[in-house]
């Protein structure tokens, strides 16, 4: 019997690693663009000021990049160490994007990162600029492939179950790559990284303004960062809109949980906070139609018929059919050598119920509901902070263009203290995506509890606390080093 404690600790460990990883990655994605733009200006104008500006942000980029790599390696290998059943059951599909990420993206990052940092005197100006862009592009390509893999977990496509090998097998690579969920998730995540980089750079630049140091550097950094950040935020909103449509279509339970919507219907309201609703808004967000039908948690458990006449079976029926699928799978395996005719019959039953195979592991309908409170509030934190941060960047950019920013100390303080909030927004986004998918590790296909490795709870607890200690230590050290480096500053004015 797989212990629920094992599942819980394994999930916690994965959440810890992914959560820590996502502290460092978005800054990498965002700063990469900001410093590449700055170096481009340097190459175009020949003004050494821009080179020094770019190099300062590169220094912070490097400190952050190292911890991102450290947390990333644990993430990849954890699929094997802690989710070994998952690794076999869907490894035929899931392994491919991970390997492609290594071949295409990691080698780019590894090669060009070294040239970017140590190659100023070893390669030409233009080649150096290309390597800076390629480092950032490498990071984005890395995000692309891991998000293709993650999106497949949200909306599995392009595969078939093979009862002989006992796994899902890829039958359409392009369906995996062009998965609509992957496309919107890629843009949503990468551009949220632009927001993170922008808010980080604006906040730090405002600190220099508050200290009345490095003013030219700070204002130039703010201009570049705010433009990158505002573009990024609009792209986040656009991709978020298509994400909403996809979640409604492919993961309706996640949407219902994110909205705390118990009973759905047409003209479904959007809840701003409990008790404050905008009528019809959820239907617009989920279907782009004010009269669109959005099922609630109860509808999804009890079964419903869409306005188009599609009958969605109740949770109980899905569980029942899932159990039939697993039983037929077992019969097929037992009979395939001794009684081919009976095996063919079992195979037929399996094929008829294969879409519900994963439901066979579910004990009760209630298990199919993710943690509503967590997902509901995480969604509001993400959206609320995203809007507030957009407003901040617009105001900062406006103030800078009007030459008023240096006098607006309150705005500088707000910008400085906004830095942690962009991280809260990013973390909240991943909580919506991942906690909202529960109890599934692959939506509708494999529940989390059927995906874990056969290791002891004690072993996972040990590694969990080990990782907590290591990552926290690294985070504290990184923050200390960043603060020291920021206090030292780019030292442009003194030169």
């Amino acid at each position: 019997m797989v212990e629920s404690a094992l599942v819980g600790w394994s999930r916690l460990q994965f959440a810890l690693t992914a959560g820590y990883h996502w502290i460092f990655v978005p800054l990498t994605l965002g700063l990469a663009v900001i410093m590449a733009v700055m170096e481009s200006v340097y190459v175009k104008t020949g003004d050494e000021f821009w080179k020094k500006t770019a190099k300062f942000w590169m220094k912070l980029f490097a400190i952050n990049f190292a911890v991102g790599i450290a947390t990333g390696i644990i993430l990849e290998f954890q699929f094997g160490t802690n989710w070994s059943n998952y690794s076999w059951f869907v490894g035929d599909i899931f392994g491919a994007p991970l390997a492609i990420e290594g071949i295409f993206a990691f080698f780019m990052e590894a090669t060009f990162f070294a040239v970017m940092f140590f190659g100023w005197e070893k390669v030409s100006k233009r080649t150096h600029l290309v390597t800076t862009w390629l480092t950032g592009i490498g990071a984005a390509i890395s995000a692309l492939w891991i998000l293709i893999a993650n999106s497949w977990m949200q909306h599995p496509v392009g595969m078939e179950f093979n009862p002989d090998t006992v796994r899902h097998e890829m039958v359409d690579f392009w369906a995996l790559v062009l998965n609509p969920v992957a496309i919107s998730k890629f843009f949503h995540s990468v551009f949220s990284g632009w927001m993170t980089g922008a808010i980080f750079a604006i906040g730090i630049s405002c600190w220099y303004l508050l200290k009345k140091r490095e003013t030219r550097f700070a204002l130039a950094s703010i201009r570049v960062s705010a433009i990158v950040g505002i573009i990024g935020t609009f792209a986040v909103m656009l991709s978020g809109d298509s994400s909403g449509i996809h979640v409604a279509k492919y993961q309706p339970m996640k949407l219902a949980a994110a909205e705390g919507l118990m009973d759905g219907g047409e003209r479904a309201p959007f809840s701003i906070v409990p008790g404050v609703e905008v009528p019809g808004m959820l239907s617009i967000l989920a279907t782009h139609d004010i009269n669109g039908y959005v099922p609630g948690i109860n509808n999804l458990l009890d079964g419903y018929t869409t306005p188009e006449g599609v009958v969605v079976p109740s949770a109980e029926e899905r569980i029942e059919r899932g159990k039939s699928a697993i039983e037929a799978f077992s019969d097929y395996r037992t009979l395939r050598e001794s009684d081919p005719a009976a095996a063919a019959e079992a195979r037929k039953v399996l094929d008829e119920n294969i879409d519900y195979f994963g439901y066979g592991y579910i004990d009760s309908p209630e298990e199919l509901v993710p943690s509503v409170g967590l997902v509901y509030w995480a969604f509001r934190v993400m959206v609320g902070l995203g809007c507030a941060l957009l407003l901040l960047m617009v105001v900062v950019l406006w103030a800078e263009f009007k030459k008023k920013l240096t006098k607006m100390t309150w705005l500088q303080w707000v910008a400085l203290f906004s830095i942690p909030f962009v991280y809260f927004a990013g973390q909240a986004g991943w909580i919506v995506a991942e906690a909202g998918r529960q109890p599934w590790v692959i939506e509708g296909l494999l529940p989390t509890k059927a995906a874990v490795s056969s290791v002891s709870v004690g072993a996972v607890q040990t590694t969990f606390f080990l990782f907590v200690a290591i990552f926290t230590l690294f985070l504290v050290i990184e923050l200390r080093i960043l603060i020291k480096a920021i206090k030292k500053g780019p030292e442009i004015e003194n030169q």
Partner: protein, 380 residues
């Protein structure tokens, strides 16, 4: 003809190639093992760290890609070994995690633990990572205690396919002298390669002298462990697979594999000769600095040959001593034909990747690293 069998063999070739490149790139680890031993002054230690520090991400990336390629092509190995030999892999990962931050953190103000703590982490990774990786690869020949039962998916309460039967979860590998010998061999090789790389990459006479001394000792250790490993490997019983996929023990299986696959035998011998040649030439001729390229190429070839002996010629590459029929073979652990074919197309990009790495490697390392350069430009 490109059929399923061909694709399985092709992917084992890619795994072997990545394994060979990984062991070669462990010169980064080997170099770091010498930070305190060969680096007598602060300048020398900085040179070592900045020399290996400009390549460490390639080693790290190759390790991750090696894992990713294994996942994509032989997922049953990924799930069985990583989930089973839990502690070995976790230990390996932790040493790499510390390495990843140590370069960047060690020289920075505010790093909390001090410069030497991070250099010690680099040294620990430098010794332990090759030792543990080598020990883990040793089990490809001696086997591990696990059971694979795909039908377990139908057990609703406990649908786990791969189960490790030793409570030590991988640590039991050290009880087998061959595995430890294999690990020590890889460690000594990494240190030798590290010394060779830095002799080539750093322009500092005093450090070069200490590196040559270190190379003498590590290479002697390598030769002793190599002889031990080879004698054991070529005399031990191996895990053969018959035409029906049944796994059975065969005496002198790995010797037979070498003899029955002359190309692999030649690859191994040429690799071994190049490896030894690179070291001996470096030790005998004081001005000879290109040993890393000879020994590096030799390492890639010899390691590839070892992987080929483990997986080709109807051999179970990841054997189970607990249940022989649970042993992993190329055929029973690989991905579907469609996935292998898709990934084979993807793998065509590898020469391009190698080309741009080689181009920028050459650009960056055209001039040897000096204390002067570290004083006047960016450094760790």
């Amino acid at each position: 003809m490109i059929d399923y069998i061909f694709l399985q063999n092709y992917w084992w070739f890619i795994i072997s190639l990545l394994g060979g490149l990984l062991v070669f790139l462990l010169f980064v680890q080997g170099g770091n093992a010498l930070i305190f031993l060969a680096g007598k002054s602060e300048d020398e230690r900085e040179l070592i760290i900045n020399s290996t520090g400009r390549k460490w991400e390639l080693t790290f990336t190759t390790l991750v890609t090696f894992g990713g390629a294994f996942f994509a092509s032989f997922p049953l190995f990924y799930s069985t070994s990583f989930g089973g030999a839990y502690w070995v892999w976790i230990l390996i990962l932790i040493t790499f995690v510390f390495q990843a931050v140590s370069y960047e953190f060690q020289g920075k103000a505010g790093n909390l633990l001090g410069k030497n703590a991070f250099r010690t982490f680099l040294t620990i990774n430098g010794c332990l990572a090759p030792l543990l990786i080598g020990t883990a690869v040793g089990t490809f020949f001696t086997g591990s205690q696990f059971v694979v039962d795909k039908a377990a998916v139908a057990d609703i309460g406990s649908p786990v396919i791969s189960r490790w039967m030793s409570g030590w979860h991988g640590l039991e590998a050290v009880a087998e002298p061959f595995n430890v010998g294999f690990g020590l061999m890889v460690m000594c090789l990494a240190v030798s390669l590290g010394a060779l790389y830095m002799i080539n990459n750093i322009d500092n006479e005093s450090l070069a002298g200490q590196l040559r001394k270190a190379l003498t000792v590590s290479f002697a250790g390598f030769l002793v462990t190599l002889v031990f490993v080879l004698v054991k490997l070529l005399t031990m019983d191996g895990f053969a697979v018959d035409a029906e996929g049944v796994v059975l023990m065969e005496s002198h299986k790995y010797l037979h594999n070498l003899l029955q696959m002359p190309v692999v035998l030649i690859l191994f011998l040429v690799g071994a000769v190049l490896l030894v040649w690179g070291v001996v030439a470096t030790l005998l001729k004081s001005g000879f600095k290109r040993g890393i390229w000879l020994s590096g190429a030799g390492t890639v070839m010899a390691v590839m040959a070892l992987f080929m002996i483990a997986g080709y010629n109807n051999t179970a590459f990841y054997p189970s001593t607990y249940d022989l029929q649970s042993s992993l073979t190329l055929a029973n652990s690989c991905s579907s034909e469609f996935t292998l074919k898709t990934m084979a197309v993807v793998s065509l990009i590898i020469p391009f990747v190698v080309a741009y790495i080689a181009y920028f490697w050459h650009k960056m390392d055209k001039k040897s690293l000096t204390t002067e350069e570290l004083k006047n430009s960016d450094k760790y």
